[in-house]
């Protein structure tokens, strides 16, 4: 059974990169372009992993993460923050919100894939 990965990302290019990378790697990729939709989809589709951008429309990645982690039905889904907030303290903030992993942009797709594989086999 292929793992489902939810990508919450507002930039089309970056969404496409993840889609192409993860599809090529054999994962099912679901997408959301804002935080609110992301939370809803996560609740609805129960993905195996969520890649979460932080700067998102409607609600930002921190808030989305908090909501997903607050919902008992979704709280066990691992979340990797994939963000351009790469300054000191940003990773801590992401983890505080409930993220299980953190990858700063720009990332190497290969390294990201490694990180993903840590969470879904």
């Amino acid at each position: 059974m292929t793992s489902k990965i939810l990508v919450i990302e507002d930039t089309e290019d970056n969404r496409r990169i993840l889609r192409d990378l993860l599809t090529a790697a054999g994962y099912d990729v679901i997408e959301a372009v804002d935080g609110m939709t992301g939370v809803a989809i996560a609740r609805e589709r129960r993905p195996d992993l969520i890649l979460m951008d932080i700067q998102l429309p409607v609600i930002d990645g921190y808030e989305a993460t908090r909501r997903i982690k607050a919902d008992p039905t979704t709280q066990n889904i691992p979340i990797i923050a994939v963000t351009s907030y790469a300054l000191a303290g940003d990773e801590a903030k992401a983890r505080e919100a409930g993220c299980n992993g953190y990858v700063a942009k720009p990332y190497s797709p290969r390294l990201l894939l490694q990180k993903v594989r840590e969470f879904v086999g």
């Binding site: 930039t11 290019d13 970056n14 990169i17 192409d20 990378l21 090529a24 700067q55 351009s84 907030y85 790469a86 300054l87 700063a104 942009k105 720009p106 990332y107 190497s108 797709p109 290969r110």
Partner: protein
């Protein structure tokens, strides 16, 4: 010693009392009372003792010496005399024995005469018998013929025999008898009881007969016994072998005693002439004896005469005893004499001492009586005359003292008055009135005046200050006198001299005003003394009498003294007030300064302090500070006093007129209004306001800043008059201080404003940087992400040319990312936002990871990368990640710029700091570039670094990070010979490091 001393008072008392006295003397000397008592006791009797001992010892030495010499010589002479006597006795005994023997020999020789040898033996026998009769000591007598045969033998003891023919040729007597010569045989004993001796004489005849006789030596004993030597002395005879021949004790002889063991006998035997002086020896009983010897020549016997030494010296000892007793007697006499002599010498001295002490004690009536007729008496006379002179001087002195005491008593009253006044002066330094009153009171009393008054010059008049005395009351009503020639006070001032008027009424023409007053108040005689300060008169002191009686010179002099004192008192008050004022001003100024420094942001406390001091120091009933606002109006910023609102209204309206406080501002000068009511310049509303508040005079001081006036301090007082120069100076200071306070507050506000702006700007900058970082990363992520996906063939296989271009895209994308990182870092550092995460780190691990991260790079370029870290380096304290960034940058640069050779990393510890060096064999850096490379965006010229990549920010960031750790980074290099970068890091750094 005590007994030889003259009895002292102490010696006469009981020991207990003596001790008590000694203790009391000690106690007294301890208290240092009667200091002459102790020495007198101490030295008393010393002189007497000294003289007595001196005389006594002189006499004693003389006596003892002469006695000893006399005894010595007496002894020697007596001894010699005794020896001679003994020797003579010995010689006499010897000669007597010799005579005795010679007589026997002669008789024998006669009986042996050869003429009798006629052949008639009987004749010979008769002759022999006659001999026996004549010489009782001869016991046997025999004649031997030439052959030794006995021809005749007669004996007292046996039968005579004739021609017995007995052969006696073997007897020594026969053998030794020579012709006509006698032979004396040795002593022998018959029946062991009696000593005998054989005498043989050869006859000179043809028949050569020998006559032999045995002689009983008992008869020598008689001779010896008769010799008397003292009581116990004796004489004895010893033969040539030392055997005793004759001795008063016949028993010794019969016992055949040999005396040759005795020293004197041994010394004498064998000597031909032993009879020298007597010697001391011992007898048989070992008693010491004095002995002499004489030789009996024909017999070779010795006569000894001896006497026990004790007996011999008995007389001698007696003589010594006598001499000793005489000596003792002499000593006693001399002691008595010495005592008398010493007392004679000391007594007058003691009398002198006593006299001198009495003079010292003040008993000048006593005379010292000494009748010695010598220098001591002269000395005593000197003392006596000195005493009488002293007596005269004393009585003279007493008279003088009495006179002087009278004078002193009088002047003491004056002195007391003067001193009292001085006391009053010192006890009231600020108030002159009590002093002047005290002076007037004393002056009146001591100079016996009806009244004493004091006046001071006040403008053009003499103002009355104080009057005292029995008739002083009317004087107090004269408040002021004109300074002119109509009054003697005025004239004293004008002429600057003391004036003494015998009778004012008589001098009415000369001093009309004074005469008028005199008539009114009833005084007649007066004296006035001007008071001077710095040679200028400033007042007078005056005495008056209500009768005509002149003041004495002394009284006038005293008045002048009082005048001087009054001047001093007034000067004191002036100086005191000046000092106090200066001090007050200084303190006030200091208080305001303190207020300024303690409230930089707020002017209110400073203004309050200034106004409080103005009120206090200028005796003001109002004081205020008004400032020109932006609207050009005056506003009352601080105020002490009543009716604030009304005052504020008046001040505000006067801002732009040239009068009032505005006037002070536009004049840029102090403006004094000494009398508000009379000054036409004062605006009406202000005058009205002042009169409401009871203000009579005003002072305005402008507050000036940067050439323009910004406000004014004003002071209002309830009396007419100017502020003094010193007060004006202080007011100016207050104005300046108020300005400083205002400026301070403004500057502080500006600074606070600026720093707030800076802070906001910094926050904006950081926000901008964060946004920039985010916004740059997002597109970069797309660029780099797509590129990598392309490389990974997600979008299909790539042509080589495309791949090549894609590589450049990726490279430039990464370079852009590096730039973004570095710019962010630098910006953070500049904004003070970069914080170090301090923890322990290991230099060794740091170097190892650096090498591990860069060695693939070095290997790719074919370079040797080496690391040498000292063992046992301590752990450091710092931000490991940032330090790693520094090392990576430096090592990365070294590898980047070195095309062949090696890069060496070394770490050591020196002076408490890590020293990490990175040496490469690259092209080296020009000297002028060695500083620039640590600046932002500075790479060594573009051509040489082209293609090397890098942002040009790495070293700048490295330098900042190292400096944040309290360390330093430097480079040594020369073109063509490589570069060495050295990082020095304190092992432990106190973070944050204080900015240099």
């Amino acid at each position: 010693m005590m007994s030889e001393q003259e009895p002292t008072p102490g010696a006469l008392q009981s020991p207990v009392a003596e001790r008590a006295i000694a203790e009391s003397v000690v106690a007294e000397s301890g208290r240092n009372e009667e200091p002459e008592t102790t020495p007198r006791h101490k030295y008393r009797g010393r002189l007497f003792r000294k003289y007595f001992l001196l005389i006594l010892s002189l006499v004693t030495i003389a006596l003892v010496a002469s006695g000893a010499i006399s005894i010595y010589f007496t002894y020697q002479e007596n001894k010699a005399a005794l020896s001679n006597l003994q020797h003579e006795k010995a010689i006499a005994a010897a000669s007597r024995i010799e005579q005795y023997i010679r007589q026997i020999e002669r008789q024998l020789a006669y009986a042996a005469l050869p003429q009798l040898d006629t052949g008639d033996a009987d004749l010979r026998r008769l002759e022999f018998l006659k001999l026996l009769r004549q010489a009782p000591e001869v016991t046997d007598l025999a004649q031997l013929d030439a052959a030794g045969r006995e021809q005749i033998a007669v004996s007292r003891l046996g039968m005579d025999s004739l021609n017995s023919g007995k052969d006696r040729s073997l007897e020594p007597a026969f053998g030794n008898a020579g012709r006509g010569k006698s032979w004396f045989g040795p002593v022998f004993f018959r029946k062991e009881t009696e000593p005998y001796m054989t005498i043989a004489i050869g006859s000179g005849g043809d028949k050569r007969t020998v006559t032999v006789a045995d002689v009983n030596l008992k008869f020598i004993w008689d001779v010896v016994s008769r010799i008397k030597i003292g009581e116990k002395g004796k004489a004895y005879v010893v033969d040539g072998n030392g055997f005793l021949v004759a001795d008063p004790d016949i028993g010794l002889v019969l016992r055949k005693t040999n005396l040759s063991a005795l020293p004197h006998v041994r010394a004498a035997i064998g000597k031909a002439n032993p009879d020298e002086l007597a010697m001391i020896s011992t007898d048989l009983g070992n008693t010491p004896v004095l002995t002499s010897v004489a030789l009996i020549e024909p017999l070779n016997w010795y006569v000894f005469v001896e006497q026990p030494v004790l007996e011999v010296y008995e007389k001698l000892n007696a003589s010594i005893w006598r001499t000793g007793l005489l000596l003792l007697g002499g000593l006693v006499i001399s002691a008595v004499g010495a005592m008398a002599l010493a007392r004679g010498m000391v007594q007058p001295i003691r009398t002198l001492d006593e006299g001198a002490r009495r003079i010292g004690a003040g008993e000048l009536d006593r005379r010292i009586e000494i009748r010695t007729g010598d220098e001591l008496q002269a000395l005593a006379e000197q003392f006596n005359s000195m005493t009488s002179q002293l007596r005269e001087s004393y009585s003279d002195l007493e008279q003088k003292v009495e006179k002087r005491t009278r004078e002193l008593t009088h002047s003491l009253a004056q002195q007391t008055a003067v001193a009292e006044i001085l006391q009053v002066i010192s006890s009231s330094p600020t108030d002159v009135r009590p002093v002047l009153e005290a002076i007037a009171e004393r002056a009146a009393r001591l100079c016996d005046a009806s009244a004493a008054s004091m006046y001071l010059i006040d403008g053009s008049t003499l103002r009355h200050l104080a009057s005292k005395g029995p008739a002083a009351e009317p004087m107090t009503q004269v408040n002021a006198l004109p300074i002119n020639r109509d009054s003697f006070s005025g004239r004293a001032i004008i002429e600057r001299k003391t004036l003494h008027i015998h009778d004012l009424l008589e001098e009415a023409a000369e001093y009309p005003l004074s005469a008028e007053l005199a008539l009114r108040h009833g005084h007649r005689t007066a004296v006035v003394v001007p008071l001077y300060r710095e040679q200028k008169p400033f007042g007078t002191i005056m005495l008056r009498r209500n009768e005509v009686r002149s003041f004495t010179d002394r009284e006038i002099a005293l008045l002048e003294t009082f005048g001087d004192q009054a001047a001093i008192a007034l000067e004191n008050v002036r100086l005191f007030n000046e000092t106090k004022e200066a001090l007050d001003h200084q303190r006030a100024s200091g208080e305001v300064l303190a207020a300024i420094s303690s409230s930089i942001a707020d002017t209110a406390p400073v203004f309050q302090r200034i106004l409080a001091n103005c009120e206090r120091l200028f005796a003001a009933n109002l004081a205020g500070i008004s400032l020109v606002d932006v609207d050009g109006q005056f506003h009352l910023k601080a105020y002490h006093g009543a009716h604030r609102d009304e005052l504020e209204r008046v001040i505000r309206s006067s801002a732009d007129d040239s009068e009032g406080s505005g006037g002070a501002i536009f004049r840029h000068e102090i403006w004094q209004v000494p009398d508000v009511d009379k000054d036409p310049v004062v605006p009406t509303d202000m005058r009205l306001c002042c009169s409401t508040m009871g203000v009579k005079s005003l002072v305005f001081a402008p507050m000036r800043s940067a050439g323009s006036s910004i406000g004014t301090i004003f002071v209002g007082r309830d009396h007419v008059g100017h502020l003094s120069e010193t007060d004006i100076t202080l007011l100016r200071t207050f104005a300046d201080q108020a300005v400083i306070s205002i400026q301070n507050a403004r500057l502080l506000r500006e600074i606070q404003e600026k720093s707030k702006q800076v802070e906001i700007a910094s926050q904006h900058k950081m926000q901008f940087l964060a946004n920039m970082s985010h916004e740059l990363r997002t597109p970069l992520n797309a660029i780099l992400g797509y590129t990598e996906l392309l490389f990974d063939g997600i979008y299909g296989e790539l042509e080589d040319r495309v791949r090549g271009v894609l590589e450049r895209v990726q490279y430039n994308g990464k370079h852009l990312l590096g730039l973004i990182h570095d710019v962010l870092d630098l910006s953070k550092i500049d904004a003070g936002q970069l914080t170090l995460t301090m923890d322990t780190y290991s230099v060794s691990a740091l170097v190892k990871s650096t090498v591990a991260s860069t060695e693939s790079l070095a290997r790719g370029k074919g370079l040797v990368l080496r690391a040498a870290v000292d063992e046992g380096l301590p752990f450091g304290w710092g931000d490991e990640r940032r330090l790693m960034q520094v090392l990576l940058n430096i090592v990365g640069n070294a590898i980047k710029f070195t095309d062949k050779g090696s890069v060496d990393v070394a770490a050591t510890l020196a002076d408490g700091s890590f020293q990490i060096s990175v040496r490469d064999s690259g092209p080296g850096i020009k000297e002028e570039d060695q500083v620039r490379i640590f600046e932002e965006f500075q790479q060594v010229d573009a051509s040489s670094t082209r293609g090397k990549g890098g942002t040009g920010l790495g070293l700048a960031i490295a330098k900042r990070i190292v400096e944040m750790h309290g360390g330093s980074i430097s480079v040594t290099s020369a073109l063509g010979s490589g570069s060495t970068f050295v990082v020095i890091l304190p092992v432990r750094v106190e973070y944050p490091v204080q900015a240099a």
